[in-house]
Symmetry: C2
Subunit: 316 residues, 2 copies
């Protein structure tokens, strides 16, 4: 099973009435620092503050009229849960979001605020999966995995599709990589519209399973990721790895310190809020400047959901 | 002496090739909280990160060909100095920026980075003015006051003019008030395009000279303003007070705590960086909600220049 550009085009049509068409931003100072022409697709301005709404919305609106009324279920402690909740609300169907019982209260409140039922479980992957299976059995809801799902990948690919339709040819396209929904979707859009361009993933050094997997030519896992990028701790999905492998994705890793410096730079120069996971793309372009110099580069700014109290430079 | 809408239109033409036409933003969550239709003119995305570039640019390009070569001089420890430096650079003429000798290094570096000569003096108003006079005598440079200057007021008025041309009628227009360049310029644009609408200034309680002045019907000064809003510590200029008085400007005051809460709200919900001085407008709309409920409101987001290390909630 893979995902085609036709599925991305179909996703774009399916979500058009619900998702924002986010702006493409420029920055003279970042261009001067990196020596490249940069086009930032600002998914921090997407609904729920992240690209995740695209995939969730595509998945929800892909359900048949027979499937839809039973709703959707997923496990997520972050943006995907909120995105799925809002997407389900847009179709008027129930959403069940399985979350670890130690989830931060604002995250629980956000999921419930979008009308979903938050279902608490022990904070382990096994407990999450078992709880999801129980909810499925009880309700008949469709499981929507956060990234290892063709509908999700096609939906996430619409951000790059919009970007490329707006700005035309690029030499490289860079996005953060975690489970690989966004990067795989971006790779499909890039290959279709700009076949000779390079797809690049930015990944924290302490969660570099994608880098390891691409080096090894087979999927590798990291059990205990260590990074401040809370959106980039998942391991690549099987389908996601396959797509990235097919498209010869290049993975660039960055330290958390580089990510924080990049985050501050974007806040201070571009005057927009991006989250640490999102800042990895700027960190990567600064660290591997020679690869980007003189190039025309598309950049997916993945999201802007932050906990202001927990920002690293606030911790003494 | 006053300022006319013709001068604002002329300023708009004069700066068009140099200043950004900033976007007008919306926010579902802020609209829900305030119960009003809100149009945010995002001058945090303006060059040098604040509306100040509009006035400085208009002043610099208003100089005659005979005056221009000797350059411009001002005293400022903040955005106006940087704005004037960049504006002078755009015309290829010298800029002299008189700054207190205890100015933060990044501010000195920014002014010099735009090609201006930073001239240090003792940190008192008398020393600033004397040093400016000396520079004028020595170089023949034209003095460009930060706010008590018709060219500056007309330039700052172009932000509201652009906003109203884009969105049409409003019931109220709100902007922060300090020396009164922005608010007076906004009042002139509003009166011309929307004569029945109310002009509103947002001001910190600890620097409420504009509020006092409007109550008294004559200009009042505060010697030691106390507020975290470093852009709002100046007293209203004479010409600025006259314009605000003529236009029956309403001043709403807010506490610093309300301003910080509003700042966080904008960062978290709108995903954009605004500075504390700028957040006063949101704080005022939240505090005096009943005045704005059901109204169509233009909001000038004045700027986004922040020192991340010095943010209040970082100070334990």
């Amino acid at each position: 099973m893979s995902v085609t550009i036709d599925q991305v085009w179909a996703a774009a049509e399916r979500i058009a009435a619900h998702a924002h068409r986010t702006p493409v931003l420029r920055s003279r100072s970042l261009e001067a620092m990196i020596g490249a022409e940069l086009y930032f697709k600002a998914e921090n301005f997407q609904r729920v503050g992240a690209f995740k709404f695209r995939g969730a919305c595509n998945a929800v609106w892909s359900l048949s009229d027979a499937e839809a009324p039973a709703g959707v279920v997923t496990h997520s402690s972050g943006n995907h849960g909120q995105a799925l909740a809002l997407a389900a609300q847009s179709r008027g169907i129930p959403a069940y979001v399985v979350m670890p019982e130690d989830s931060a209260k604002p995250k629980l409140a956000a999921v419930r605020g979008y009308g979903a039922e938050a279902i608490l479980c022990a904070p382990s992957l096994a407990a999450r999966e078992q709880t999801c299976a129980e909810v499925q059995a009880r309700t008949g809801a469709s499981m929507i995995h956060p990234y290892a799902d063709a509908r999700i990948i096609a939906g996430q690919g619409t951000a790059a599709l919009e970007l490329l339709r707006e700005i035309g040819r690029v030499d490289q396209l860079i996005a953060p990589v975690s489970g690989g929904g966004l990067l795989a979707g971006s790779a499909i859009s890039l290959a279709a519209l700009c076949p000779s361009a390079q797809i690049v993933g930015a990944e924290p050094e302490g969660a570099n399973d994608a880098w390891q997997s691409m080096q090894a030519g087979e999927r590798r896992e990291i059990i205990r990721p260590e990074t401040i990028c809370d959106g980039l701790r998942a391991n690549l999905g099987e389908i996601n790895f396959g797509i990235l492998n097919d498209h010869h994705a290049q993975i660039l890793t960055v330290s958390d310190a580089e990510t924080i410096a990049a985050l501050r730079l974007v806040w201070e120069r571009m005057k927009i809020i991006i989250e640490p996971s999102c800042a990895t793309v700027v960190a990567a372009m600064l660290r591997y400047r020679e690869q980007f110099a003189g190039q025309r580069v598309g950049v997916i700014f993945s999201g802007g959901n932050i906990d202001l109290d927990a920002l690293p430079w606030c911790r003494g």
